[in-house]
Every structure is written in structure tokens, then in C-alpha cells.
């Protein structure tokens, strides 16, 4: 018994376990020594946690586009970060128009709805165009071909927006109704954060309901299980793929509006970093899995906002916030080492990846 176990245990395994343990010890030791320093107040931690949740919610909505497309086509749509950028970028001009006419602050709810619809519409439209022009002709091509096409399409979209609107940044107008905050037992909670968290949870529930409980959702799951069999069962695979891209795009557009509530600046390269993070979140949760992407995104958001201060301040590392991406990606690597399919990953990533 012991012998077979020892035979299976390779040097690599030992090495990986040692690395994993070392990181775990560093994290725990860092956290304890940070907390013992008592430099951050309780309300400070809660503020960071709320910000992390809001950021995670936005990542989750972007991650939907990656994970649903992967679930159906088994390809990573690397142009999705530009789908995410195009919506809020275009809607920014609507918002500026509404702000200059005074409508934005007179009717904030209707204005936000208009901005949201424009953003979702543009992002979904771009996603559909991408599918039709860049991916459909290549559906039977080897797997690397659509991947490279996606990267090309990503640059094309970025520089199209740069050509149209210039390389500068545009600021979203502030919505007065959202600038207030509530103070609950010494903890200040901003309305924007509440709107972002509630909005992303609501969007996630809608998406989950569509995938789980509607007829078209059932068809999507069928196509993702087995394309040929689904086609034989009378499902129009093409239209399901189009629907998936549209849904992912609309979700990215909604994420974009929420993102600009948190960080009210748009520019042509704004999609890149959130896109990478959302992709990470999708992989973290198990790519192809909708609840997994949500879980992964929330964990990533929290790690990024609470992680650097909690783990690294106590270790005496200067400017810990610079290392927040390192923390996020180390966690990704660790999870992929110990659970290669991601947190909620299914067999999908095993037999088709």
C-alpha cells in the first residue's frame, strides 16, 4: 500500500506541494502579522471588501462572454475585451449628451436605462459582427486559426475606436443621485457600489435563468454537450451560436456600464486589463461553467482589493498594491495546479480542451 503510493508520488508532485505550502504559510503569516499591526481599521477592511465585491461582479459579467463561448465553440474569444470596451465607450457619448441637457440628473433611472441599453446593444452588435465575419468562416479550421483571428480582431477593434474617437480618455459624467452614501454603524457605503453589486447579481441571475430554464438555454446546453447530436435533434446550431455571442456581448455591455460607474473613464485600451482578469476568473472557476465564472470572478475581485494589504503589509513589502496582479495570478496558478479543471470545472475542460 505504502509502496504503491510512494511509486505514484513523483518529484514534481513533491515540488508543487512544497511551493503550495510555502505560499500558504506566507499568506497566513502575512495576514496574521498585518492584523496584529492594527494599522487598518475595521471599516477600512469592510470598505475594501465592498469594493472587491463590486469589482468581482463586473469581472463576472465579462467572464460570462468568455465562458459561454468556450462552452459552445471550445475557443477563447480574445476579442471579447474589445466587445466589453465598445459598449461603454459608445454609451459615454450618450451619457455626455444626457448630462449636458440636464436629463441625466433630472431622471437618473431612465438615463441609466438608456445608457445601459445603448451599451448592451453596441457590445452585442460588435459580438455578432465578430461571430459572422471572423469566426463563422473559420469554424472548421484548425483550433489555432480562430484564436489568432481573435487577437487580430481585438487589435482591429481597438484601433478602429482609436481612429474614430482619438487616443485620449473620456470621462463619464457623474450622476448626482449615485454620489450619496449611507453610513451604517461607522461604515460608509456608496450608492454606486450598491448599484454595481446589485446590478451584477441581477444580471447573473438573468443569465443563469436563461441558460437553465428557457428552451433556448436548453438548446445551448445541448450544443455545448455535443454539437452533432444537437444538430440531429433538430437544433439550429448556427442560430444558437449567434445567440450565445449576442448574450455574451450584451452581458459585457452591461458590465461596461457598471465598470464605468466604478471607474468613470473610457479609452480605447480600457478593455485589455479587465478582459484578461475576466478570462482569469473564468479559468479560475472552471471555463465553460456559468456559476463557476461567477465564483471565480468574486474571488478574484476580493483577492485584488483585500489581498495586497492583508497578505503583504505584515511582511513589510513596500507598495503592496503593485503586486495585486501577482497575487491574483499566483492564486490562479495554485488552483490550476491542484484542480486543473478550475473550482467548479466539469468534464468539459477534460475531454474537449
Amino acid at each position: 500500500m505504502l509502496r504503491t503510493w510512494r511509486q505514484r508520488l513523483t518529484l514534481t508532485d513533491v515540488f508543487i506541494w512544497v511551493i503550495g505550502l510555502a505560499i500558504a504559510v506566507a499568506v497566513i503569516w502575512g495576514s496574521i502579522s498585518t492584523l496584529r499591526l492594527h494599522i487598518y481599521s475595521g471599516s477600512g477592511w469592510i470598505d475594501l471588501t465592498i469594493r472587491g465585491l463590486a469589482l468581482g461582479g463586473v469581472y463576472a459579467l465579462i467572464a460570462m462572454g468568455y465562458t459561454m463561448v468556450y462552452g459552445i465553440l471550445k475557443m477563447i474569444n480574445f476579442a471579447h475585451s474589445e466587445v466589453f470596451m465598445s459598449g461603454p465607450f459608445t454609451a459615454c457619448f450618450v451619457a455626455l449628451g444626457l448630462a449636458s441637457s440636464g436629463f441625466l440628473n433630472a431622471q437618473p433611472v431612465i438615463s441609466l436605462a438608456i445608457i445601459l441599453v445603448v451599451s448592451m446593444g453596441v457590445s452585442a452588435g460588435i459580438a455578432l459582427l465578430l461571430e459572422r465575419i471572423c469566426y463563422r468562416p473559420l469554424r472548421t479550421a484548425p483550433r489555432l486559426v480562430p484564436l489568432i483571428t481573435a487577437i487580430g480582431a481585438s487589435f482591429f477593434l481597438q484601433y478602429t475606436f482609436r481612429g474614430l474617437f482619438g487616443s485620449g480618455s473620456f470621462g463619464y459624467p457623474a450622476i448626482k443621485a449615485l454620489q450619496q452614501s449611507w453610513t451604517i454603524s461607522g461604515i460608509q457605503i456608496f450608492k454606486t457600489q450598491v448599484v454595481v453589486i446589485a446590478g451584477s447579481v441581477l444580471m447573473m441571475l438573468i443569465l443563469f435563468a436563461i441558460v437553465q430554464w428557457t428552451k433556448i438555454g436548453k438548446a445551448m446546453r445541448a450544443v455545448s454537450e455535443d454539437k452533432e447530436a444537437a444538430e440531429l435533434m433538430g437544433i439550429n446550431v448556427d442560430s444558437i451560436i449567434v445567440f450565445t455571442f449576442g448574450l455574451g456581448g450584451a452581458s459585457a455591455g452591461a458590465a461596461g456600464v457598471l465598470y464605468t460607474l466604478l471607474f468613470p473613464v473610457v479609452n480605447f485600451y480600457m478593455g485589455f486589463i479587465p478582459g484578461i482578469k475576466a478570462f482569469t476568473a473564468a479559468v479560475l472557476g472552471g471555463i465553460g461553467n456559468v456559476p463557476g465564472a461567477f465564483l471565480g470572478a468574486i474571488i478574484l475581485g476580493l483577492l485584488e482589493s483585500v489581498g495586497p494589504n492583508l497578505f503583504l503589509t505584515g511582511l513589510g513589502i513596500p507598495s503592496p498594491s503593485q503586486l495585486k496582479d501577482a497575487i491574483a495570478f499566483i492564486v490562479l496558478v495554485l488552483i490550476l495546479i491542484f484542480r486543473p479543471t478550475g473550482l467548479l470545472g466539469e468534464r468539459i475542460s477534460r475531454d474537449k480542451a
Binding site: 487598518y40 470598505d47 473620456f170 479587465p274 498594491s321
Partner: protein
């Protein structure tokens, strides 16, 4: 067959070479310059290149300089010594690797006489070794990092000049303003890892501490970061009265926006430097910009007002930041130096000795520019800056000058 043909061809080539050699021997000028001369045949243009950031987030920085240079060329009628001025260049991207790529391209072009650039100090660090070796004169309108003109520093190269102020001046002025005028004793600093920001923060901290102040937190952010919550939370623990972050957009705008909603930093004064003196700060930080202070060179006077009119007429907008004026002065210093050292032949051929040009630029004295009366020193600093501090008010650009008080328009409190 081919052998015969090649013999004929080479004979013709040799004959041609002999003939041209005889032809050009007539206007006898031999270049005695230690690093060579640029020869302009009668119809050749005079090539001045730029190495500026003209795309990406900080494009405003380089485009403004390029606009200033174009106006300088227009003002001399597009010609110097009867040679049309050819002005083109490379995008340095405001990064070290972008500067290296652009510098390599420029250094391979022997027709270039002088280079306007770079925009960012990080670009200069990697491009300057190449440009200096190629024998060019480089003159920057917006590099402010002290090491570039420090002869004891490895980042200092011969042939490098700047009309922008050295950050030693700007950082010291900012510390003076914060400690003596605002009366603050604790400050936090943030830089973004760029040469510009880290040296400015260093100079600020040195001067602030020398005066008797304390730096509660000295930290840094990634220039592409959007979420500043963790860095601001760690700054809030030190309870500073002011946060000094001489960085660029859009990171600067995110700090302005998010500091107001960070527990403990609601009332903290925020201050940046000339990298954040831009209309884009208004566009991107929105209402949160109210009360944000920046230091920037103070350029005033009737000559500058006339220049702004020309700028508006040519580009359809008001100047984007302040570096157009430095670029305009830089170009005129180059023109003046070229006119001084160029050797003109009767047939219109012009020789420009490269080392001679460097010496001529270094010898520039009492040059009446838009940014003041400029005198270059052999290490490369030409600027004569007066640093002002400006406060942004929501919906109002340019920001309002608040310091030094002796330059305020009369009537303001």
C-alpha cells in the same frame, strides 16, 4: 555571358564614380568635424526628426510638442538656408522599449541633423545612447528627470539638451509650496515607476524632509491600474495632509476620483505635477477634480499670447498642455545653431558639422524664447523655469494659478 556583362557594368560604375568625384571636387570643403558632417546637396531638404509620444494614453504630451515645433517651422517659412525643412519622426510611446525602437530607426538615418524629443524621460534613457552615437543633436521639450543632464550619471549623453525644466526645480517648488504656503507637515507620495515620477517624488521628499516635514507613506502604483482602493487604503493609515502623485493619465484621474471616497482621505489635499496639467484631467476625473493642485511651468507674456493665437488658427484648439512652448523654443534654438555653424557653398550645398552644432547649441545664451530667457549649459539644461501651482475647479479649464503670489493677476485675493 554574365561574366562579360558584370565586367562592363563594374567598369561603368567605376567611371561614374571617378566622374562624380571630379565633379564634386570643385567646391573644396573638407569636413574636419570630429564626428562628421551632414551634407545637403542643393535640392536636399534639411531633415529634423521628432521622437515623441503621438499615440496612446499620453499622446497629448507629444502632439502638443509636435504642434509647437510645426509652428516654429512655419515661422521661418518652412525653409532654412534655402533648404526646405523636412520634419517627420517616430512614436516613442512614452516607454523605454518604445524609445529604443524609435531611436534605432532614427539612428539609422544619416540625413537627420537634429531630433526633437523625447517626450518622456523613460524614452530618453533608452533612445539617447543610440541618438547620441549617431551624432545627432537631441533637444527635448518635456524630459524633466534630473539624471539626463547630470554629467556624473550614466544616463547623460553628449548632444542631449532640453528646454524643459529639470525636476530638481519642480520638485523643490512643490515641496516649498506644500510646507511653507499650505503649512502641511505630513505628506504621502505615489509614483508610477516611471523615471519622471520617481525622480520627482524623490526630489519632493528630500526637500520636504529637509524643511522638517514627514513622508507618511511612500508608495507606487502601476501606470495602467484602475483600482486604487488598496493603495489609497494603505495611505489612509498614515493620515497625511496631502498626497503628492506626479504621475500621468489615466492613473492620476483614478486616484483623484477614488481618494474622495476612501475612508480617511475625504479631506486630504491632492497634488500632482505637469504630467497632470491637461484638459483630459477635467474630462476624466469629472467633479472630483475640484481643488486638485498641480505644479507646472509658468509661461506668460505678449509673445506667448501671440503664439496661442497662431496655435488656435493652425490646429483649431487651444494648446493641450505647456510643452508646445518648450518645443517651439527648442526648434528655434536648433535653427539658430544651424545657421551659426552651417557652411554654405556657392552652388547651394550646405555642410553642417555635427560636433560644431552640439557646441553651438551648448553655447546658446540669452535666447529670447516663449518660456523665458534661455541659456544652455554644457550638460544640456537650457530651461529657465518659473514653477507655478494651479488649482483645478470643476468645469473650468485652464486651472487657476494660485502660487507664487507675485505672479497672480492683480485683483485676485
Amino acid at each position: 555571358m554574365f561574366k562579360k556583362l558584370s565586367i562592363v557594368v563594374s567598369a561603368l560604375v567605376i567611371l561614374g564614380m571617378v566622374l562624380t568625384a571630379c565633379g564634386s571636387a570643385a567646391p573644396a570643403y573638407t569636413c574636419t568635424d570630429s564626428i562628421g558632417c551632414v551634407k545637403l546637396a542643393p535640392t536636399d531638404p534639411l531633415h529634423i526628426a521628432y521622437l515623441l509620444v503621438v499615440s496612446g494614453a499620453n499622446a497629448a504630451l507629444g502632439i502638443d510638442s509636435r504642434n509647437g515645433a510645426e509652428i516654429a517651422i512655419d515661422d521661418v517659412g518652412g525653409k532654412l538656408l534655402n533648404h526646405t525643412i523636412k520634419f517627420d519622426g517616430q512614436d516613442g510611446g512614452c516607454s523605454a522599449d518604445g524609445g529604443q525602437a524609435a531611436g534605432t530607426k532614427l539612428a539609422s538615418d544619416p540625413t537627420i541633423v537634429a531630433v526633437l524629443g523625447t517626450s518622456c524621460s523613460s524614452e530618453a534613457r533608452s533612445a539617447e545612447p543610440l541618438l547620441s552615437k549617431a551624432g545627432f543633436v537631441t533637444i527635448s521639450s518635456s524630459n524633466t528627470a534630473p539624471d539626463l543632464t547630470d554629467p556624473t550619471n550614466p544616463n547623460h549623453y553628449p548632444g542631449y539638451f532640453r528646454t524643459a525644466h529639470n525636476d530638481k526645480v519642480q520638485g523643490a517648488a512643490a515641496a516649498d509650496f506644500v510646507y511653507n504656503t499650505l503649512g502641511f507637515k505630513t505628506a504621502a507620495t505615489i509614483h508610477d515607476g516611471s523615471l519622471y515620477a520617481s525622480s520627482l517624488v524623490g526630489v519632493f521628499a528630500d526637500n520636504f524632509k529637509k524643511d522638517g516635514g514627514t513622508i507618511s507613506t511612500a508608495t507606487s502604483v502601476d501606470p495602467n491600474a484602475t483600482d486604487m482602493s488598496s493603495v489609497l487604503a494603505s495611505i489612509a493609515t498614515g493620515k497625511p495632509q496631502l498626497i503628492y502623485f506626479p504621475i500621468f493619465l489615466p492613473a492620476g484621474a483614478f486616484i483623484i476620483d477614488q481618494a474622495r471616497t476612501t475612508p480617511g482621505l475625504e479631506q486630504t489635499v491632492l497634488m500632482g505635477a505637469d504630467g497632470l496639467y491637461s484638459p483630459d484631467v477635467m474630462k476624466t476625473a469629472g467633479a472630483a477634480v475640484e481643488g486638485f493642485d498641480v505644479s507646472s511651468p509658468l509661461v506668460q507674456g505678449p509673445a506667448y499670447d501671440a503664439f496661442v493665437v497662431k496655435y488656435k488658427a493652425k490646429f483649431g484648439e487651444l494648446p493641450i498642455n505647456i510643452f508646445h512652448a518648450h518645443a517651439y523654443d527648442a526648434m528655434n534654438i536648433i535653427f539658430q545653431a544651424i545657421q551659426k555653424v552651417a557652411v554654405q557653398q556657392p552652388d547651394g550645398t550646405v555642410y553642417i558639422p555635427r560636433q560644431g552644432l552640439r557646441d553651438a547649441v551648448a553655447a546658446t545664451a540669452n535666447f529670447q524664447g516663449l518660456t523665458g530667457v534661455l541659456t544652455c549649459n554644457p550638460d544640456g539644461d537650457c530651461a529657465n523655469p518659473i514653477i507655478g501651482v494651479y488649482t483645478y475647479h470643476a468645469g473650468q479649464y485652464p486651472p487657476q494659478l494660485i502660487w507664487p503670489t507675485k505672479y497672480l493677476p492683480t485683483g485676485t485675493p
